[in-house]
Symmetry: none
């Protein structure tokens, strides 16, 4: 990988259009000899592959299964070890919050404790979501701030919520205020650095108030907080790559990730066609488009091989609509694999194709894991894609004389 | 490569069994068009390759020929540049010594010097091994300690021996007490850091005594010491990877290397079948097995192409015995190449196959250098194998949310 400051010095701006299509959880594993991609009828992707250069990408490195945060950062050209996105931040992005550098977020659980503070049930009997919403509303009204720091609570499903502390100078070097096990006593957060002591005190004062206020709300009579985190200080894609980037996705988390690296989020509808329609109507205004398709991942997580195959076939249908816009560089790949066989994200590399005027098509004729492996791109880290797209868009100067 | 502290945070323990078969000096070079592997009849390895994913590994990096120390560290998942194993330590491991953090080791030569201390022969006329043993015995009895530090001498072949200084706070930042050339005057060791000054004084006092004691032993009337080293402070595989690892090998050096990373050394016999029998009888007690086969390397070092081919064919015979144990993850690879053509270790990458339930077999049907190159694993650093084995054993959590 080229060092960041050198890459920055090579970037130039021009009118060429780059489109990155991310099929979430794209890669799979064989069931009765064939992967989801090998089973699907995807004539448009196959035809595109035969006019492209192909390869396999590792989101992080051999054997490492990435969450959506690090795998997207890599696709956007950022080192996922340099910029870590905490769990609190991911949850906040997932419910569509826009975070600033003054926001400290955490994931929360409602829990049941006894009069001595011993946890009887970390999930408060999995209270129904409506009950959760009701308690969050009450808690929000009772404790709006603590020590001058604003506190906002956003209900999630069942016993879960997201909390945001908003104030200058808050730090996230904090241990979980959650002993992680029933039968242990609730605990406050501890600061991991001297600078975080003030923040720890604020959080712990908040927790004291909450315990008082929630007394009557058995079984949800206490909260546990974990994954304290702030948004990392990431240079934007326009600073780094001189791009005007835009994001098109239907799930808040991916739009949140895109916002973290300075992409403009474009309003779109629910369907694949809506997304492509949005791409079309904004095609003149930006020069980098991140287009995210989610349903392949959901089907993989469900362990539903056939549903993932169908999702791939539907995506295949909209490929000609994208090509009709004549992007200068088109990449189709995945953020990570989600094999139906594993029902989860996995470490397996993803197929990738790159289409532009300046390539030597490599003879790969099917957009599958095992065919792409034979392509010119070989097997390489996802972080290298963005420089390669820039190059194919003639957006990179020569390095050295 | 994933940073060590992140990898550590992802590792979890479960019951899956990982087996790493290391065929020493596996890779070769063509003689009359075919390498040793391409010449050998290895139907079992070929069949296994066709059910596996394959690739080529670089022990260290392009063009670098590794010794057994660094190449094994890489296979065990350690950065060989971070943890260097000195020559003294390697020699000591080679004769089966177990070293602690209080041991300072060096390689020694008996040499011939004149009355002014000028070296006449660095190898003391290559005295016979029995003579060497006799002098070592005498020297051991005459100088058992110096400045409170215990000294132990272990004879090797001809003029060579291993020396161990044992005491608290000894350091290994020392130059060789060996001018490396006939015609130069013998020299003491110099400390390379202030902290090593005391150790240098102790070694030099020892050398003075030895010169006195050996006066009558012409031609072996002096010793030269080089490669002062201590065992590096390596975190064990159980600390790092939460594995219960065991080693099966017939040569002391490999067992010593395995002990350095905290493997349990299992008693075994001389033959390949003995080694597999040992694997079988301990299969329930550990979850990572390092199985080492030596004879391919020896044949390569001898420049005996046919003998290396036969050694490969013998190893092929025991592959079904290993498969019968149903390991969850099986890797077969080499620590480095030893082409008969070169009669030495070499820089060439080694074939590797990885067999598990969670792979997409990649169409490679022969376990050879040139076929494995076409596999899904591509060409990658040996250090990545261990994370990949952990992943395939479902021993790694997701990185990030």
């Amino acid at each position: 990988m080229i060092p960041e400051e050198i890459l920055r010095s090579l970037v130039l701006q021009n009118d060429s259009k780059l489109v990155m299509v991310v099929i979430d959880g794209l890669g799979g594993l064989p069931v009765r000899g064939k992967t989801e991609l090998e089973t699907a009828k995807i004539p448009n992707l196959d035809r595109l592959a035969s006019k492209s250069i192909c390869g396999l990408i590792d989101p992080i490195s051999y054997g490492i299964t990435p969450g959506s945060g690090p795998s997207h950062l890599a696709l956007f050209g950022y080192d996922p070890f340099q910029y870590e996105i905490g769990r609190g931040v991911m949850e906040a992005l997932g419910i569509g919050l826009t975070l600033t550098k003054d926001d400290l977020t955490a994931r929360g659980n409602f829990a049941t404790i006894d009069e001595n503070g011993v946890i009887l049930d970390r999930r408060a009997g999995r209270i129904p979501t409506e009950k959760n919403e009701e308690i969050c509303q009450f808690l929000q009204n009772e404790v709006r701030e603590v020590d001058g720091v604003r506190v906002s609570i956003y209900p999630g499903k069942e016993h879960r919520f997201v909390i945001v502390f908003q104030g200058e100078g808050l730090r996230d070097e904090l241990t979980d205020a959650d002993p992680q096990k029933d039968g242990l006593r609730v605990k406050g957060t501890d600061s991991l650095t001297p600078e975080a002591q003030r923040t720890a005190d604020i959080v712990n004062n908040y927790l004291k108030k909450v315990r008082e206020v929630l007394k009557a709300f058995h079984p949800a009579n206490m909260v546990l907080l974990r994954g304290f985190s702030k948004v990392p200080d990431i240079p934007s894609m326009s600073e780094r790559f001189k791009l005007r980037p835009a994001a098109i996705a239907t799930y808040p988390m991916y739009l949140g990730l895109a916002r973290l690296v300075g992409m403009e989020v474009l309003k779109t509808g629910e369907t694949l066609k809506d997304e492509v329609e949005t791409l079309k109507s904004h095609f003149d205004q930006y020069d980098f488009f991140y287009l995210h398709f989610k349903r392949t991942d959901s089907a993989g997580e469900d362990g539903d091989f056939k549903k993932k195959v169908r999702a791939l076939e539907e995506i295949d249908q909209i490929i000609p609509l994208i090509l009709r816009l004549r992007p200068d560089v088109l990449v189709v790949t995945g953020d990570h694999s989600t094999p139906a066989l594993l029902r989860s994200h996995s470490w397996h590399p993803n197929p990738i194709l790159l289409y532009s005027k300046y390539i030597r098509p490599d003879g790969v004729r099917r957009f599958t894991e095992r065919q792409c492996q034979k392509g010119e791109l070989g097997r390489f880290p996802a972080m290298e894609i963005l420089p390669l797209m820039l190059a194919n868009g003639l957006k990179l100067k020569k390095f050295g004389a």
